[in-house]
Symmetry: none
Subunit: 251 residues, 2 copies
DNA sequence: CAGGAATTTGCACGAATATGCGTATATTTT
DNA sequence: AAAATATACGCATATTCGTGCAAATTCCTG
């Protein structure tokens, strides 16, 4: 295990538990306490934590988890999610891609809709745990930890057996010429495959994703059934996409 | 192998694993560490990764994760989980069943173990999101919402392609005569199948599960490699299981 | 096609980094 | 005050790193 990775882990644990204990860390990571103490000393010097006898504490006490989560999901994303959820009809099969925006769709899915939700994101399934009517199909595969989605050959095969009515595609960038893109080749391939297995594909995009391009193209600009954007986006910044033939929905 | 190809491979590996180690790359690609180090140096200059001593990390890996994790697991379950985690050796493939007890294993998995964790529980994957070395394979299928595990034919097929060294089986009841059981027929079938695909099967059981029976048997009493129970359980209540030939471990 | 320039790779070696141990010191607990 | 625990420092050792250099390969150009 890399040293900087270990320090990141200590910080993570500090955020989670509100404290770390030198002895416990040494135990857990199977390293000498000296090493841990050295880490803590250095991180304290970098003002990353507060060193105390026996371990370390966060510099500023953390906010409770729930308020923080509310904060990261912006009002903008909630509006997009609500709009997308309203497009879903009872009886349909919906493929939900990973990502925080699509998690909003799952969270706001009307409780009286009897739908089938397919996803390769375990995070999304968590959002649907308490939905009374949704039937959830989980696509398995090798897990990409940074985006928490299943990938690889197993995922591709499982996806091939699905026919979805709607696919809500998660992307990192949209560009009038370069289309819809994301940062990872493997993920792009998976997403493209899902789109091919779905009758319609919609993209939810917040303002900062417009007119940007990431390394790996998923679909060309006109490859989707619609683009859902916040209603407060300037009209003129949408015209390139309108001209490219993409139906646009304002949420 | 072309240089640019190699660099792409390094990036890919970085995305997949969340880290790369210079030494390991040199070994795998059969190149000198110098070459790898040069690559990493150059890619760091191009802002493609973050160079650290020993290897490299993604640029912005660990945003604070505010997932609510008020671990309300009993001390008893934590002890069982810790014991089970200590049985796992680096390099092994471990199948983790769903359930709160098995979640404890995932949570307490030593951070320096390079293991492959297979699971059909999206909840378990969440516990492993920040493990630096664990490779996570998610088994997909139709999701049982009450226990949050993937089930059905798709899950059965996916499981059949796995060979695990250890399977930690989650159960709801153990009985000297009726064996290991759970409340759902489908789940029982899945669990039995996983056990068949694993070299060893262990069961973690808290006191209240002993001497009880649920409708659907998973395995007979002697069908497992070991039973892990809290050390404060009365010795005499374990003798029926000892007599049935089940190795017992006290955690 | 010949020959020089640029790139790539591996090796040597001193410098930097990481880790564990022993020992002395500081802090907390009893 | 004594015991237990935690800490800091110096030192030894093992990796890992960066640089200079040379050999091999590829590319370019006349």
């Amino acid at each position: 295990m890399l040293t900087s990775q270990r320090k990141a882990l200590i910080l993570d644990r500090l955020r989670r538990n509100g404290q770390v204990i030198a002895k416990a860390l040494a135990d857990d990571l199977e390293l000498s306490e000296d090493t841990i103490r050295r880490d803590l000393r250095e991180m304290a010097a970098e003002k990353l934590l507060k060193r105390v006898h026996g371990g370390a504490l966060p510099l500023a006490p953390d906010l409770p988890d729930f308020s923080a989560r509310q904060a990261v999901s912006s009002e903008e994303k909630r509006r997009l999610g609500a709009y997308a959820a309203s497009m879903i009809k009872s009886g349909q099969t919906v493929f939900l891609d990973g990502g925080t925006t699509n998690a909003e769709i799952a969270r706001q899915l009307p409780k009286n809709l009897a739908v089938t939700i397919v996803t390769h994101s375990p995070t999304i399934t968590g959002e649907l745990e308490h939905h009374p009517l949704a039937e959830v199909i989980l696509i398995g595969g090798k897990l990409y930890k940074h985006s928490m989605v299943a990938t690889g050959a197993a995922a591709m095969v499982a996806i091939a057996s699905i026919r979805a009515d709607i696919f809500f595609l998660g992307i990192t960038a949209i560009h009038p010429v370069h289309g819809f893109s994301t940062g990872d080749f493997e993920e792009a391939a998976i997403k493209r495959h899902i789109a091919q297995c779905s009758a319609e594909t919609y993209v939810l995009a917040t303002a900062e994703k417009l007119d940007a391009a990431s390394p790996c193209q998923i679909l060309p600009t006109k490859g989707v059934s619609g683009l859902i954007v916040p209603s407060d986006i300037p009209k003129e910044s949408l015209t390139p996409y309108r001209n490219a033939g993409v139906p646009i929905f304002l949420a």
